[in-house]
Amino acid sequence: MGTEVRGEHTFYSHGSPAPLAKAMRNDYAFAEKTTRVEVFWGTQVSVESPNNNIKKFKEDNGIAITTSDYFDIFNFPLVSGDITTALNEPNTALITQKLARKYFGSEEVIGKTINIGNKVNAKITGVLRDIPLNTERVQEIYVSDKNLKDFSDWQAKEDSWGGFTSECNTFLLLKPSVAASSVEKIFPQIMEKYYAGNINKNVFRFHLQPLEDIHFDADYGGYVDKKYLWAAAFIGLFLIITACVNFINLATAQASNRSREIGVRKVLGGMRAQLFWQFIAETTIITMFATLLAVGLAQLSLPFVNTLFKVQLTVNPFMNTWLLLFLSVIVLTVVFLSGSYPGLILSGFKPAIALKGKLPREKTTGFPMRKILVIAQFSISQMLIIGTIVIASQMNFSKHSDLGFDKDNIVMLPVPIHDSIGKIKMKWLISRLKEVPAVKDASLCMEPPSANHSNVKAIRYDNDVKERPWSFNAKPIDENYLSLFNLKLIAGRGIYPSDTINQYIVNEVFIRKLGLRSPEEIINKNISVDGVTAPVVGVVKNFYDKSFHLDINPVVMFPALNGVEHCAVKINVPGSRSGLASIEKIWNDVYPQYIYEHEFLDTELEKYYEFDDTILALIETFAGIAILIGCLGLYGLVSFMVAQKTKEIGIRKVLGAGVQSILWMFGKEFSRLVLIAFIMSAPIAWWFMNRYLEDFKFRIQIGVGVFILAIAITLLIAGVTIGFRSLKAAMANPIKSLRTE
């Protein structure tokens, strides 16, 4: 069950309020099974090893807290332990075989204890089979639902309907006779029962989403929009068609070499049909060899592809019936598509003419099929080249633009605890860090100015009775934050040191949304967040608080030690290496029970564009392949033209033409083809690239330069391809060319 949050900007989330699962189970009979699962990412696990040392591990995939009926809905079997009872008691956990071996060196771990997040000592009551690669539920540790309060008492409460986290998921296994629509009908009743008097009654709305749609549904933050898959499939299809087209081109261009053979065969009694099938048989052998080669190459390139696109594919036709079927269909289609036309042409040669080695004359002027095919290939290549240029430019823009704050030489350290002891520790940490010579500045905060994770809240301004209908990005900071990140104040001042929320700083978007005309207007006015009222003391210039895919949010910053999750450290470049070592030592002193890690902010920010980088790599690969195939086609065409024009070149040379003017004969023709291809491909590419760029709120403009670059690249490639062949033709001895048989 997902939640739609309606407001100024409606968004959809996979998450739902914590008490929802129990409500659905108790109040209605739709589902055979109902379950709630809560994920906590990046948890630390400590294991006591035989010699009483403590081994600490950071599990990035985190833990999932749930009940045993989760496993009735999802098929994650146990290799040891009883699933019906495993998570019933508090302080129990399941781990996978892989983790068992990692922590204890064997899979016999039932009864052993692990410490999770320094919060819970859990006994292992079952071992899960290793999680398959293609699931979204990547957690390898499952903890009893009874421990939810240890990780979040808000989520564990029975009446936490007012908000929700996207990490809390509710799943229903509907009875076979129940349709999704009948379930959705009762959702308003839930709102009535549980949200009476709650301000979010008209804001939240629940929806059912089938499990199989999760991966692709972009609205709900699914991993990938299906449109990219379709795009990739189409491009793949185009490439195969292009290769077939090339084969046809080259085969018919080579026809002259075989005309004598065919003439002889016909004289010796061969019939047209027999010759046709001979050609088909030859094509089949070539295609099958090509397919074997392709499977081999695919296997070899797998490690490279998997790293590049961050997937885990395997290629094994014998294990995968779909693949086998696909390959067979491809072979048959390619053979008939590519082989029939040349087969018909070649088998149709008249013996008398064929024996003389002459071909039926083909026009080289105008637009015979050959040229149309080359134009088509070059159109595809051009579109991919334009795509590559645009995406690369956008990536360059996204990653290297000034974001409105400093991001270089800044390291983010975790601050693992923020209870009363945690507050003392973090102050200790920061004062010690500032003593390190390589440390220029340090600041306690929840997140850096730009981060994936954010707290979203609503405000009341000044004398408002109700909250404003829009939400903002809430950022806990300290008094060093503005100077460390070089954020610019345009009104008021920065914050004075404080442990609790007693001052607010806002950004320009915030001012605009309130409808104020100047930043000065808000100084010393009060705003109220989550019931905490305090004056606004400063306004900062806008900075990009999210990736370029998203708009700049209204931002409110305030001091709040209990919201601190990171310590930002700005280091001097010279001496940074020893500086980092000192920092690590200090951190481990302050937090001996936790695992140290650090992230450079600029590296972290690049992760916003992981998916875009993958798309770029994909398109570059496709462009490379298309160009290669296009060049082959072009080479075929120029070979054909040279063969047809040998006599004409000889005549022109006799009449006084120099090598240059012969070269220009070819150059002119191919430039024309490239230009026509460009005229056809440019508008289409422009349209597609605009669609791609629409995903970015901050984007480059597709200028004329892009198209000029694309056409220059294509002309260069075409020139190199035909250059050698046409040069050879232009320098040929005219006498030899004119020799009559």
């Binding site: 006599k647 004409e648 009559t740």
Partner: protein, 213 residues
């Protein structure tokens, strides 16, 4: 001609003097080197030993570009198989040599019109070679050879693909060009009849000059 293992002589001890205004026929059986000699005279081919003076200039010492310029301006070539460009019209075929000589469009137009008129093929100027008879195609070939106003005309079996009547017409035309306009003509031919149109006959056999008349 030298190939990798031994030297083969296509022409040996050929000494030939041709004065301006002469009409010479070269005769001999197949393989005697007639066409080779003609190609050498026309600067379309190169030789390894010997010297060639054209109008006082040592052709064998000239660079490729200079040679091309020389034969472009002074020599016209006529082939047995006509060798017209099939994709161009009669007009365009005749015009082609002028394109390689940097002659202005208006001048080109005038010269081509003049040729069409002289050979009475004005009505055919927009036709393609495949629409013409053999004799007409050869006429076009001759017109093309003459349009650049060469001093020397080389003809390699010009009537070889024509019937006897067409052949006679072509040969009379040659005689007229030679006598009335003083164009030097060297032709290669099989036919004694054709050879008689000229003033001198050179006989070649196995690359050597057998006898000169």
């Amino acid at each position: 001609m030298e190939n990798k293992t031994n030297r083969t002589f296509i022409l040996k001890d050929v000494n030939l003097d041709v004065k301006e205004g002469e009409f010479i026929s070269i005769m001999g059986p197949s393989g005697s080197g007639k066409s080779t000699l003609l190609n050498l005279i026309g600067m379309l081919d190169e030789f390894n030993e010997g010297a060639y003076m054209f109008n006082g200039q040592p052709v064998h010492e000239l660079k490729e570009k200079q040679r091309t310029n020389l034969y472009k301006q002074h020599i016209g070539f006529i082939f047995q198989a006509y060798h017209l460009i099939d994709e161009l019209t009669v007009y365009e075929n005749i015009e082609t040599p002028l394109l390689y000589q940097d002659i202005k469009p208006s001048e080109r137009k005038a010269r081509v019109a003049d040729m069409l008129d002289r050979f009475q093929i004005v009505g055919k100027k927009d036709l393609f070679p495949e629409q013409l008879s053999g004799g007409q195609q050869q006429l076009v070939g001759i017109a093309r050879a003459l349009v650049a106003r060469p001093k020397l005309l080389l003809a390699d079996e010009p009537t070889g693909n024509l019937n006897s009547k067409q052949g006679e017409e072509i040969m009379s035309l040659f005689k007229k060009l030679n006598q009335e306009e003083g164009i030097t003509i060297i032709q290669v031919t099989h036919s004694e009849k054709n050879a008689d149109y000229g003033s001198r006959i050179i006989h070649l056999l196995d690359g050597r000059i057998e006898k000169k008349d």
